[in-house]
Symmetry: C2
Subunit: 399 residues, 2 copies
């Protein structure tokens, strides 16, 4: 379930998957199918055994690229595995591939775009190739109420969004699993042969009621980690920008990589995305919880105006007590997507101090999001004629 990112409390999954990697006795759960509770990202790093993005690694990136993306500065991407090694190899002239993906279970919303924008930054600054996998098979297998026809429609729409981000068509390859499985399958069975049901059960929480497609799926998501070495005919590092809930996939992949003669894939992990409504999942099945890339300006305005904030019930109380930016999705999106570091610090202080009212923040967000989405929508239209420049088989998509 490759979402690139995932909203907190995401629950699109009907199949019975146990949470094998819930974190200690904390009140939150992170698996590829479920993210719930108040996530303690430091504890996640500890539990998953990953490494925090620190100033040292950011300096290294700055040295190579001349520019540090805000998502690194503000730690939206907060954790990694082997990123330092990938940078070392790059400096030695051994370029990496980027690999990320999307599970096409619905329309793309603002949150989904964030890791993709970051991936584009990495592609541009490092001048590297990217594999973008659409896990339509997995979205079908893990959702009782989704048929392939519905998923195909979302695949088409999602591919337009991906192209609209502006990835270099010469350096970017989109793989849609059900259509391009022949590029993955021989690798996938090599991986599958090395993973027992015991291991898969422990890592993913499969049970007797899991369907055998679910159990057979993980190697399909692992395969693109090794494809670059086959394409380039030499050992090629792979860096995966994705939300940290995908980590189980990369753990099993890393376990088999060296036995198969490949590098272990490196990762850079993002945090999760809050919904626009408190305690609601940001979900395609609840359109009011998310701003979609196809939403008209009026709809965007209405959604932002209607959203939950960290503010007080009345202006008087807000002036008196101040707001709570820490739980406010409006603050979150402004901070991570639009405000500069300075602006965000100022906004935080003004909210807390009661100088800033929620309406003002909502107005700021609307002012930023509307042109941002209009721009995406123009590019989505153009993308319709560009699909075959991206697909691995050079073919268009039937809808």
């Amino acid at each position: 379930m490759f979402d690139g990112n995932k909203s907190i409390s995401f629950d699109n999954t009907d199949q019975n998957i146990h949470n094998q990697i819930s974190v200690g006795n904390s009140n939150f759960t992170v698996t590829p199918w479920e993210v719930e509770g108040n996530i303690d990202y430091n504890k996640l790093i500890e539990k998953f055994g990953t490494h925090a993005i620190n100033d040292e690694i950011i300096k290294k990136i700055e040295k190579i690229t001349g520019e540090v993306h805000p998502f690194l500065k503000n730690r939206y991407f907060f954790s990694h595995r082997d990123l330092d090694w990938v940078l070392d190899e790059y400096q030695k002239g051994n370029k990496f591939y980027l690999y990320t993906g999307r599970g096409p279970s619905g329309l793309v919303h603002l949150g989904h775009l964030m890791p993709w924008l970051f991936t584009k930054y990495l592609q541009d600054k490092f001048n590297v190739k990217l594999i973008f996998q659409i896990t339509d098979d997995e979205k079908f297998l893990f959702n009782d109420n989704k048929d392939l026809e519905a998923i195909n429609k979302f695949t088409f729409e999602n591919v337009l969004d991906i192209i609209a981000i502006g990835f270099d068509p010469v350096k970017t390859t989109i793989i849609i699993n059900t259509k391009h499985i022949n590029y993955l399958y021989p690798l996938s069975i090599e991986i599958a042969k090395r993973i027992t049901f015991s291991t898969a059960k422990a890592v993913f929480g499969f049970s007797n009621s899991s369907n055998i497609g679910m159990i057979g799926f993980p190697p399909i998501q692992s395969s693109p980690c090794f494809l670059p070495t086959i394409i380039e005919k030499k050992l090629t590092p792979v860096l995966i920008p994705a939300a940290i809930d995908q980590d189980p996939y990369w753990r099993i992949t890393r376990d088999v990589a060296e036995k198969m003669g490949y590098y272990k894939p490196a990762q850079i992990h993002s945090k999760f995305i809050p919904g626009l409504i408190n305690n609601e999942k940001m979900s395609s099945s609840k359109p009011e919880t998310a701003i979609f890339t196809i939403d008209e300006p009026e709809k965007i305005e209405k959604k932002v105006k209607d959203t939950f904030t960290g503010g007080q019930p009345t202006v008087a109380l807000q002036r008196k007590l101040g707001g709570n930016a820490d739980i406010c999705p409006v603050f979150w999106y402004l901070k991570y997507l639009f405000d500069s570091e300075g602006e965000s610090i100022e906004r935080y202080a003004n909210c807390k101090g009661g100088e800033l009212l929620c309406g003002e923040c909502k107005g700021d967000l609307i002012k930023k999001v509307k042109p941002f989405m209009s721009n995406i929508q123009i590019k989505r239209e153009k993308a319709k004629d560009m699909i075959k420049e991206y697909t691995i088989d050079g073919q268009d998509l039937d809808v």
Copy 2:
């Protein structure tokens, strides 16, 4: 593990598969991965819930085709599911597809050819299309000591054998799983979604130590059962000629067929093939146990001369006590492949009565097998230029 047929005591499988469908308290076992003991075919029919090939159904076939194949008369094909229904549909004008397969774990031997010869008879007499699946993925996943490179070589050699049988290139499509998976995958995940691990465990005996590729494999073998309906754009019956050990695959396929809007696939089941050496498996890894399609005439002669028979240790004892044709592979191959019904009855009596010596039967078999195999070998050479007339993608095979 689609062998078309399988030698008794076949054990090419290293993976730990339990025998979930061993038959009652009898001293034999039949699973897709293991056939062991003295098979009681009547008990198998009872246990699997299939139907015996009886005179009535043979008459029906004779009425339609004008000719009954010896493999039906002598009950080498001894059991079926829904064959009567397939014939009824045929008579109504609803033609069936044939579907069979081959697991390319080694070279093709005389025994492998038998169900293929029968399949060709069905194709010719009913004038129907055939899908021939090469389950190279499964042979790889279920055998610890096989790599894909070795299996690819056998795939190439086996495809030559299949073409040499003389299937109509216009009506025959070869699907090699690792190469043509894109034709199967969307169907395969639809099937996989409907089969829980519980069911797969009960039917195939998967355990915690099974690799997840094995667990995910069965729907790949099921998919060609439904492909004809998609190709023909109308509900199309499918008849599978194969050894009865494959029945578990068709049982799970039949369970999901109607829920998915397809006909249940019908089957016609063959018996297993004895090896040339007693208590030895007929196996590609033990070349002395089988006559391969690439064996030179001298090698064939030597193998037959060296084979175990049902005869007595000395000529004097043979004359006195008679031989045991029931356990004799030389008698078996003569009966099922070369003797007429009358010849076989006579041979049986003369063996039992001590009039016939083993050397004479061996001489008869050598006389028949040598030209039979020479003919196959000439056709195998021609087949090298015909591969793309058969493959589903119209492409040649790289070796």
